[in-house]
């Protein structure tokens, strides 16, 4: 779709905003800088947040894989903030959302200025702060706002490319200005419905990407079928695995934490052949497991944890020669809590 092509070109601009808003777990140092950089980034401010995600999520992956340190991301932000503004404005106009503020009416129509970033500052600044809010309340608020007030602008400006899309609402604004498509009904109900439908479609696209084998399928009902099957299969797998664990000798399954903890310790040392052991008892278990994994090279485990870009900084030390060790990767990078725990137990 043309959206992805367009957004692929601007890999930098939307991403840092997403990072600031969404990935709280990253503990980005200098969060204040992020906040300040975010407003000029979202000069448009009315980008269809929900239309962006599918592609921006991919960009997230790229950016987080490319940036080894957070300092570099911040640095790249600074360089990108200015050029991204006109691009964002263009994007905003494409999504045909008109700002509530009068100052921005002229801007959104396609002219690119950066002055319009100022009014949107307050809106955008509160957004990162609201990352913790409960989604349900927010969703209900959103639907209320949608239903209550949507102003329609039926004028067709020459400079606009607004025939393409109608808009999603920005949850920061009390009400949303929506431009009607050419030849479409313009009453508030159908517009609200259309916005809702587009939201649902965006999320369905995400689901399609997540569930394997859903890309080829056309039609909502079949996709939903696949999703239901996938969820059911995952739940059945959990049942089976817990039954297997329970049927194993109870001493082993409840002592698995010590086994894994010892693996933790040895892997944290960076030694891969399990040469260095800290504790006597897990030693035998560790060695046997390592040999088991080496043997497993021919048959890789069915479930392999991702060795993708996001993990590379973390697992960087571990260029492992054997792929069969993938499900051991869980151990590396965990806290030093485990070796202490194990020492206490033994």
């Amino acid at each position: 779709m043309d959206l992805s092509g367009r957004f692929g070109a601007r890999s930098g601009d939307g991403v840092p905003f997403r990072e600031a808003a969404a990935l709280e777990s990253l503990h980005i140092g200098g969060g204040e800088e992020f906040r300040q950089m975010v407003p000029p980034e979202n000069a448009g401010g009315f980008t269809a947040l929900l239309e962006l995600p599918p592609t921006q999520a991919v960009e997230l992956l790229h950016s987080s894989s490319s940036s080894a340190s957070q300092a570099t991301t911040l640095h790249s932000l600074g360089t990108l903030s200015f050029p991204s503004n006109p691009l964002l404005m263009e994007r905003a106009s494409r999504f045909s959302v008109i700002a509530t503020d009068n100052q921005q009416n002229g801007n959104v129509s396609g002219e690119t200025t950066t002055t319009s970033s100022v009014p949107s500052n307050e809106h955008i600044k509160t957004e990162p702060a609201e990352t913790e809010t409960c989604d349900q309340a927010a969703v209900e608020k959103q639907s209320n706002r949608c239903g209550k007030r949507k102003e329609l602008d039926k004028k067709v400006k020459s400079s606009t490319k607004k025939k393409n899309k109608s808009s999603e609402e920005n949850e920061k604004l009390p009400y949303v200005h929506v431009r009607a498509r050419r030849g479409q009904a313009t009453d508030s109900h159908s517009l609200a419905e259309r916005a809702r439908r587009e939201k649902i479609n965006a999320r369905m696209k995400l689901l399609q990407e997540l569930v394997p084998g859903c890309d080829k399928i056309q039609g909502t009902a079949l996709v939903l079928d696949e999703i239901i099957n996938h969820v059911q299969s995952l739940q059945r797998q959990v049942e089976m695995l817990s039954m297997r664990l329970a049927s194993v000798n109870p001493r082993i399954d409840f002592n698995l934490d010590t086994i894994l903890a010892s693996e933790n310790g040895s892997l944290m040392d960076g030694s891969f052949n399990g040469a260095t052991m800290q504790l006597a008892w897990p030693l035998q278990v560790m060695e046997t497991e390592q040999s088991y994994h080496h043997r497993q090279l021919q048959q890789p485990p069915s479930q392999q944890w991702p060795f993708d870009g996001l993990n590379q900084p973390v697992w960087g030390r571990e260029e492992n020669q054997d792929h069969g060790n993938d499900h051991n990767n869980l151990m590396v990078g965990s806290t030093s809590l485990h070796p202490n725990q194990v020492k206490m137990e033994l």
Partner: protein, 194 residues
């Protein structure tokens, strides 16, 4: 809301759960299993399986720290089975609110709905296109109802948008659960064979 969406987006873009999620899940799950440890000798296989599954579910749900609907519903369901275990596992602040809070269920009496729909359909004149569209909509509705039955807390989600969002997050969390459990089972098997 968007925070959750974007968080889950960052995960879905990777198509699989992150390693940190795996570790967190493992830690919490181990914590739950430790709670169960004292009474492990005098239990049957089914009891143990129940405890394992329960602690795994609560661990998975607690990763979300109450931000998602399905996690809250899952914890509440677990609390009905083993309140003590759940309380021990969720030693955070949220436990009380999580366990006590409950949303109104969306209940539609099917007979009444069906009857009213029949009446409505009688008045409308059907064109070919309308019929097809109506059937497609019916199908989709049936599927979404099926999805609500599957996803924990589905009945409490008032709109489809929320439902799909929650499903996304739920699938990712299930994937972490399955990954970690499978790796442990493999390790246990390896240990047994020796």
């Amino acid at each position: 809301m968007d925070h959750l969406l974007l968080l889950s987006l960052s995960l879905t873009s990777l198509m699989q759960p992150t390693s940190s999620m795996n570790e967190q899940f493992l830690k919490k799950w181990q914590m739950g299993l430790q709670i169960f440890r004292p009474s492990i000798d005098n239990t049957s296989v089914s009891e143990r399986k129940r405890a394992i599954k329960l602690s795994a579910d609560v661990a998975m749900a607690s990763l979300r720290k109450g931000t998602t609907c399905w996690s809250r519903a899952l914890i509440q369901k677990a609390a009905t089975q083993d309140n003590f275990l759940v309380r021990q596992m969720l030693s955070g602040i949220k436990e009380e609110t999580l366990i006590n809070k409950k949303l109104p269920k969306i209940v539609c009496h099917r007979k009444i709905v069906r009857r009213s729909k029949k009446i409505l359909m009688r008045r409308k004149s059907k064109s070919a296109m309308e019929e097809v569209a109506a059937k497609a909509k019916k199908l989709v509705k049936r599927k979404t109802q099926g999805l609500r039955n599957i996803v924990p807390g589905g009945e409490f989600m008032s709109n489809n948008v929320l439902l799909i969002q929650e499903t996304l997050d739920y699938i990712v969390s299930l994937q972490t659960q399955v990954n970690v459990m499978r790796s442990i089972v493999d390790a246990a098997d390896a240990g047994v064979e020796r």
